[in-house]
């Protein structure tokens, strides 16, 4: 193990384990008021009247009329209203906020408000929507020729459902005006996203806005863009009140009304000639929900991953993100990749059965190698370690022999084992890092020779405070304790970009390393010194053009292999997970415990995505299962010990050899699980979540 990988005590361990870390709801300010949003109860309607009850002194309502800037939350585009205007586009759309000194009274007032709607017909099924928010197409080779010459064409459609991030700490913000400025603090991943959005909504200059990230109880993407919306709403309320306003979501409110993973429908047409895959024609639809938010980028990533880890020379991928009258979907660990990786892994598995070869054997034939062209005609510039990872997983799980063994079973319990191959593109998609983010990182040496890290990336549990500190300490040759890092405050840190896309360690960590190297060379004890580094795109990167959808979508990739073994009780159709093994290449781990924790946490979220986590709309556009009792995430007794291994494959352009790690472990769990279910049930499956009820349906079909 590299020295940098040796685990240390996390910077935030003490305060969190002692219960003294302060999350946004733990903060109380003098004169603070409480706010609660009124959410639309209709999926598509015109608001014709809002009638308020009599309000006690000190209680008031905030709505679109109180927005002093633009009534739009800037995310990628600017279509999300801060407060609804004349129409509502989904159940949950915020119409107004009730604010006052006692939260019970605020809730009472909320209950007594009567909104009159003129209902219109909502579109809830993404397949029936004509409203295309975004579409991208790309191709390489000659797919039409491949189809002409094919002797067989496989066509199959795959579906993936919503997934709710289910961070343990719900969304929350406190906004407070002071000295002509507005400060907003709260649970978030991207302080500078919130900064830009709040200043636009208030109509003030950016210098008059201050955003502070509070200790955040989990994000997983759910706090990437959504906090900008809540922050704008809370800031508008605080401006009207001229007092601090705190808004904390209830769990049911959070589950029902905040951003989720995009559901998808993907149709694959695969050309086969002489037993070889000669081309793929892929169509992908993502359900964007009512507003655009992050859909363009999620769709981009999903499409880039559409042909998986496979070398497909004749490829056409067409994708669109469509509007439906449902909650706007956004970022969730994996960000489009889990959807298409599920589809491509399953189709490869189904093709192998049709052709009459073993699933892994077929996949191995097509795994890309270093030097191969990517889906978007970029290049795999670095070693692809999948073959050795497959061997490692096979050894650990006995995959190959169990897979064969489980083909023939009888009795009440049926076992199955499945395997998936996947990657995660490291960093922001395309040229976003270079053209939009333009990250700046700083370190400041104080006169007492402590060194403070100044970046806007947020530790949301993934250990950035610790890993960033290790990079700086180790590069400078000083002690870990000598390095300081606080939660980002836009008054104090530059914009080093958002905490997304598995970019923080690889990209910002590298900037910190360079800044530290510079400081080391110029170190003057006892003096205050500041080093600043700006992002520079590595020179090997083939620039990505979004218009042409061509080039290196990512500088490099992190790779994964998952095997999952299940046992199905045919009497009850319930599934027990007997084993889950993951091999992960994330470059050099900056801290082994932290990286292992990320792999295990992501792996379990992926298992939940595949099996028990189901959330859906009824025909009125309402989510019915909006609580922890009905939205089922795994408990400690739902899984065995997850076996996660990190392989050694350093990335030359990442700090100490590190590359993107956060999202990879979620991406491949679902196809491994569903392949295992197929092995157990003896049927082809094409949807997730694949629930107990789905299992029962298949058991009854097969029984017939």
């Amino acid at each position: 193990m590299e020295k940098i990988s040796e685990s240390v005590k996390k910077k935030d361990h003490e305060s969190k384990v002692r219960g003294s870390a302060l999350y946004v709801d733990d903060h109380v300010m003098d004169g603070m008021l409480y706010g609660k949003l009124l959410h639309s109860t209709k999926a598509k309607a015109r608001i014709t009247n809002i009638s308020l009850p009599k309000l006690l002194d000190g209680y008031f309502v905030v709505d679109k009329k109180d927005v002093t800037g633009v009534n739009r939350v800037h995310i990628v585009e600017d279509d999300t209203p801060v407060y609804a205007e004349d129409t509502v586009e989904y159940v949950g759309e915020p119409i107004l906020m009730v604010v006052g000194p006692d939260i019970k009274e605020v809730k009472k007032i909320l209950n007594d408000i009567i909104v009159t709607y003129e209902e219109e017909t909502p579109i809830l099924d993404m397949r029936k929507s004509d409203a295309v928010f975004f579409n991208y197409n790309y191709a390489k080779g000659d797919i039409d020729k491949a189809f002409e010459e094919a002797d067989r064409v496989f066509t199959e459609t795959f579906q993936t459902g919503y997934q709710e991030q289910a961070y343990l700490e719900t969304q929350g913000m406190i906004a407070y005006p002071h000295d002509g400025r507005m400060t907003v603090r709260g649970s978030m991943q991207c302080p500078y996203y919130v900064y830009g959005a709040v200043s636009k909504a208030l109509g003030c200059e950016e210098k008059d806005v201050q955003i502070i990230q509070d200790v955040t109880g989990g994000g997983f993407g759910g706090k990437e863009a959504f906090p900008s919306i809540l922050a704008c709403q809370t800031a508008v309320a605080a401006k009207k009140a001229n007092k601090p306003v705190k808004v904390i979501f209830d769990r049911r409110e959070d589950m029902e009304f905040t951003s989720k993973r995009h559901p998808s429908v993907s149709t694959y047409k695969v050309a086969i000639k002489n037993g070889k895959i000669t081309g793929m024609d892929i169509e992908v639809i993502f359900n964007s929900g009512a507003y655009t938010t992050l859909s363009p980028v999620v769709l981009q990533r999903g499409l880039i991953c559409a042909n998986g880890v496979y070398r497909i020379d004749n490829l056409r991928v067409m994708g669109r993100a469509v509007k439906t009258n449902t909650v706007p979907c956004g970022a969730y660990r994996g960000f489009g990749a889990p959807q298409t990786f599920f589809a491509v892994e399953m189709i490869m598995d189904h093709i192998s059965k049709e052709i009459g070869v073993d699933s892994l054997e077929l996949k191995e034939e097509y795994i890309v190698k270093q030097g191969d062209s990517t889906s978007t005609s970029g290049k795999y510039h670095f070693h692809v370690p999948l073959p050795e990872m497959i061997e490692q997983i096979d050894k650990l799980s006995d995959y190959r022999s169990k897979r064969k063994q489980y083909l023939i079973q009888s009795g009440r319990y049926r076992k199955g084992i499945g395997l998936s191959l996947f990657f995660h593109g490291c960093g922001f998609t395309g040229s976003g890092e270079r053209d939009f983010i333009k990250a700046v990182a700083k370190i400041r040496k104080n006169s007492d020779d402590t060194v403070e890290i100044l970046v806007s990336n947020a530790d949301i549990g993934q250990g950035l405070k610790t890993t960033f500190s290790k990079i700086v300490a180790d590069t400078l040759g000083i002690s870990y304790e000598q390095v300081l890092i606080n939660n980002p405050d836009t008054d104090l840190v530059p914009d080093s970009g958002p905490t997304v896309a598995s970019r923080s360690l690889m990209t910002v960590g590298e900037l910190l390393r360079r800044a530290s190297e510079k400081l080391k060379k110029e170190w003057k004890s006892g003096e205050v010194q500041i080093m600043e580094e700006h992002f520079v795109e590595p020179d090997f990167v083939i620039p990505f053009s979004l218009d042409k959808f061509k080039g290196d979508a990512y500088p490099t990739y992190s790779w994964g292999v998952n095997a999952i073994e299940v046992e199905v009780d045919t009497l009850t159709a319930t599934t027990k997970i007997l084993g889950a093994w993951g091999s992960f290449d994330v470059g050099v781990p900056i801290d082994m415990n932290i990286i292992q924790g990320q792999m295990q946490g992501g792996f379990l979220q992926g298992i939940g995505y595949a099996s028990m986590e189901q959330i859906d709309y009824n025909d009125k556009g309402m989510i019915r299962n909006n609580s922890f009792s009905d939205y089922i995430i795994p408990t400690a007794v739902d899984v065995p010990n997850l076996v996660t291994k990190i392989i050694n494959n350093p990335y030359t352009h990442g700090p100490y050899g590190a590359k993107g790690a956060g999202e990879l472990p979620l991406v491949g769990a679902a196809p491994a699980y569903v392949e295992a279910m197929e092995n157990a049930l003896g049927a082809n499956l094409n949807k997730i979540p694949f629930t107990t009820e789905d299992t029962m349906s298949v058991l009854q079909e097969v029984h017939k």
């Binding site: 009497l571 159709a573 028990m612 009792s629 009820e693």
Partner: protein, 272 residues
């Protein structure tokens, strides 16, 4: 304290409930999901007469205010009851939740109520007017509707000692902990002198009330295993008609299929 009573004896509690509209609160794990601002709670979690587990010649008597943890930790508790309550929710809920609350809440998903059905248990309801002991099968009128009077408290559950052996129990939830039952099944079969002396089955979580069909189960009583096999098809057909699952988020077909599968497995595990 305003808005509540904390009686220290059963008599005290009964006196209060006789003259005032109060909400009995034992563990609180159902009530506190949506606490009623205007309710006056009668806290019965510390009343000694409701927290005993004792046995006499006929019965094992379980105090209604015993928590699930109390039951698990007491060696007198029947194995079938321990088995069921140890799968309720999670430790923190089991430390508060009571069998009394589980029964009186009136939900067909109540895991301990299913066991009381499957063991033909009786409930001892007490008020200042007197007391009555009724079979649990007569306690429910419908979902969340019981025959308990406003001035009554459920004090004890009487479990017949002769029917507690050779049990079959299965809870099917959405996951292994913190799971509300989607289907729950309990069955008991006792053989005496080569003949079936008792056959009791009960199905929970699938209908408005727990399903118990004494008349169908009676088809096996007095028969040998071989004789029982001869009427098995008819028995299953009768249950196929009797098990009507109500509409819910989980498909009726799924729940019905699981019920029939478990019932069949219960029979097969007894050689039928």
């Amino acid at each position: 304290m305003v808005n509540c009573y904390n009686p220290t004896s059963l008599k005290e509690a009964l006196d209060i409930i006789a003259k005032e509209v109060v909400t009995p609160y034992a563990g609180g794990t159902d009530l506190m999901i949506e606490p009623d601002e205007n309710a006056t709670y009668l806290f019965i979690n510390k009343i000694p007469e409701m927290k005993n587990i004792v046995e006499d010649k006929e019965f094992i008597r379980i105090g209604a205010a015993c928590t699930f943890t109390n039951i698990i930790e007491n060696e007198l508790s029947p194995a079938i009851l321990k088995r069921a309550v140890s799968q309720i929710a999670a430790p923190a809920i089991r430390n508060l939740g009571t069998v009394g609350g589980n029964i009186c809440n009136g939900s067909p998903k109540a895991d301990s109520a299913l066991i009381f059905f499957a063991t033909d248990s009786k409930l001892r309801l007490v008020s200042n007017r007197g007391e009555r002991v009724i079979p649990i099968t007569e306690f429910y009128l419908g979902r969340k509707k019981t025959i308990i009077e406003k001035d009554e408290l459920l004090v004890e559950i009487l479990m017949n000692r002769n029917v507690l052996n050779n049990y079959y129990y299965k809870k099917v939830g959405e996951r292994n902990a913190l799971a509300i039952s989607r289907v729950s099944f309990a069955g008991i079969l006792n053989i005496e002198a080569g003949k079936i002396a008792n056959c009791i089955t009960a199905f929970g979580a699938i209908s408005d009330v727990i399903i118990r069909r004494k008349n169908i189960d009676a088809m096996f009583v007095g028969k040998t295993i071989e004789e029982a096999k001869a009427v098995k098809e008819e028995y299953l057909a009768e249950y196929n008609k009797a098990i009507v699952t109500i509409k819910g988020r989980i498909s009726e077909k799924y729940r019905k299929t699981v019920c029939m599968n478990l019932l069949n497995d219960f029979l097969e595990s007894n050689g039928i």
